[in-house]
Symmetry: C2
Subunit: 265 residues, 2 copies
């Protein structure tokens, strides 16, 4: 079973990467569970059958705190993908990661991952602050291979450095940093800066996802780009990335070597 977590700064491009990877694995015939773990709750919806905004786990549990089935929580989306969206509490009220923590608790209670027959489990997780619920996917039995989405913006690199520090904390659970996925904000961004940053952290950039207008078109058509435009540059990059991810042996991945904070000021 591939147990993947996509982390990164808010807005850097995690959900585009995570939903396209889930769709790609499903196209290859894998049974996929996709879990949205960002209070922005707009990940799983990109894989659903025009349901629009699916209810988050926090919303469902507000009405029924002790559900006895996965109905209303797990949704079957396109390509046979099973999805759920954690949700987040209202800002200012309780832990921002509470939706993620409660969702993973529920998946554990219902033994969804253990008994669901999934071949790929994909967590799409906000990584601005790696604490509370946002660190929950790194605990035992959830994510194994973490991939951090970066861009050329300094704040995206600072967040990647912080997430790499968290990898150390959860390493005893078998969590590894599989690598970075670069999602460039500008077509003329300097890729060598990102390669050097990855090397400094003892990892590498596995893929550069080009800025692709077809991703915006796909979004409007409520599809992932690998479904909407399979021959596009970005779809080919996602297909290659999926193969790369599957070929990573966690046992041979070194620990990352995050930089001191001063490196960013």
């Amino acid at each position: 079973m591939e147990r993947i977590a996509i982390y990164g700064k808010g807005g850097v491009g995690k959900s585009v990467v995570a939903t396209n990877l889930s769709a790609r694995f499903a196209q290859l015939g894998r049974k996929v569970l996709h879990v949205g773990c960002d209070p922005k709750h707009d990940s799983a919806v990109r894989l659903t059958n025009g349901e629009g905004n699916i209810l988050t786990v926090l919303e469902v549990l507000a009405d029924d705190p002790n559900p006895t089935s996965t109905d209303g929580i797990l949704h079957e989306g396109r390509l046979g993908i099973h999805c759920c969206e954690a949700g987040g509490p209202e800002p200012g009220l309780g832990c921002g990661g509470r939706g993620v923590a409660r969702t993973l608790e529920f998946l554990d209670e219902m033994n969804v991952i253990g008994s669901g027959g999934y071949e790929v489990v994909m967590f799409d997780v906000l990584g601005d602050v790696v604490c509370g619920g946002f660190a929950a996917p790194l605990r035992q039995g959830f994510a194994e291979k973490v991939f951090i989405v970066i861009s050329e913006e300094p704040m995206a690199l600072f967040a990647a450095n912080n997430i790499s520090k968290a990898i150390h904390v959860y390493h005893p659970n078998g969590v590894v940093l599989g690598g970075f996925v670069a999602s460039l904000k500008s077509p003329d961004a300097d890729r060598s800066v990102l390669d050097r940053f990855a090397a400094a952290l003892s990892t590498r950039v596995l893929a550069f996802i080009p800025r692709d207008p077809l991703i915006t078109c796909a979004e409007r058509a409520r599809k992932t780009v690998v479904e909407y435009a399979p021959d596009s540059a970005s779809s080919k990059a996602f297909a290659a990335l999926a193969d790369e991810i599957a070929s990573i042996d966690p046992a041979s991945v070194p620990l990352p070597t995050p930089l001191g904070d001063e490196a960013f000021f």
Copy 2:
């Protein structure tokens, strides 16, 4: 006493705004307390006398959990400004806002705000997730006037919307949303989009801080731009903003009207 909090998405430009406002108020003769509340801990250092990286409150308390004075925690910086930097726990270990929570606890215990004779208290706070320690400056006795730094980027607006929701939660403490401060990432960003966004939330953009290369020069010279280049476009914008902030009567500020999350997808 002006009790101000500068909130906004990570990297949007809060510390540039907050340190320049603190420096401007000090230039006008006010006694200022400047509190850095971002785990990135790079705010107060911009106002210090070349001390380089000042110790964060969390670091000091790690050695001495029950200090009996403000030594080592409050620093006198340039222009007579008193500053401290909250710090943050290591990612993956404990609440991301723990440094902020512990710092405000300390300020309370030592009655720093009540007895320090300050005329301006400035909190520079990370606003990606408004929870735990990051919401602490909105509690009784800390911030009164909140200003949210926005840019033309959608994620900065989504964060501003979330922070506006948190204003509702803490409104009973007398917290008000004074307005937005626009820090444009691109010189040809569409300002009218930001004015319309502010109007939709029942607030307004108080200032547009232009992208100014002198801000980068000032940073390298370890000064704020209002000290380094007082006649620059951005320095004039900060001076006008400081006057605008001082003229706001909290009792006459309406509650913001945040949009539903769907407005951002």
